[in-house]
Symmetry: D3
Subunit: 68 residues, 6 copies
């Protein structure tokens, strides 16, 4: 009975892409550990860009700096 | 000083129901482990239906399939 | 299909007490939100005392200070 | 490669304050554990007041009671 | 820069299986959302059987009941 | 009443360093958001190296590859 949580930045991910993440993560647990899909939960958290930091900066500033 | 996180699907849960979850979870920790309510935190995350998967499918598809 | 995570300090909690936390948290979701127990997960994390802080101090130092 | 998650109540925290939390948490990991900022993630969750409980009550009720 | 957390019961998962979970989860984020693997973190939590509940029971009791 | 969770790899972090993380994270919330330290919780999770992945690889393999 695995529980998978996927955190991604909120940047226009579609409902179809979310369904792919859910099926892909479930398949992974079935394939590697032979888990039962019926007791495998996947939750997705979309995190606002200003709420995600890397390199000590909010994501957008980090990307601008990395690109410059 | 326990910390309880409750994740549920976002489906019209009321403020009163949330207050019941908070008091119920706190009472549980007090009753079973004699914890101090003043240092017991409870947070509730409401997760969009498209962000919760079970059986490899988003919740709504899973329910339709289970009901069919 | 709720998911409940309970974090407590590691201080001799017994297997029976854990079972009480699991049944109590599940009952709470059933009672307040009419959730299905079969798709309600509860996980318990026991956190070492040196890994939990409150008031800016590890728990044990905090308790000694509060008691003095 | 640390991962820091900060949960706070949603009460008008500004983008600048979030950037300070991100840089401050990252600096802390660099200073104490010599971690590489480029592989240090920080995420911030703003939790609605009705979704955060302490003392068995939602935060606002708890504050009113504590102030009375 | 996704962050994936996988919680599974502690039941003899091998280091190789963990490596498969890590590569599989990372590949999923690359394939579906075109994320950069270098900024994709995966963490695995192995949860003791007595710390995981479903159906209001610790996992082992739940399995025995389901099998009977 | 913030809650901060810090996940780091398990690599010989000392009790004193953990206390510094706890005081530093608490001070950060006090300084930036004027939070009350008495209701600020910090928890630290030490994650085994084989349970942390980046770049699609367990940390140790990732480091060897990056260093080569």
């Amino acid at each position: 009975m695995p529980y998978v949580n996927i955190k991604i930045t909120r940047e226009g991910v579609t409902t179809d892409q979310k369904a792919e993440l859910i099926s892909g993560a479930t398949d992974l647990l079935v394939r590697v550990l032979n888990k039962n899909p019926a007791t495998t939960f996947v939750t997705i958290d979309e995190v606002e860009l200003e709420d995600w930091g890397v390199g000590g900066l909010p994501v957008e500033q980090y990307r601008r700096k990395a690109a410059s």
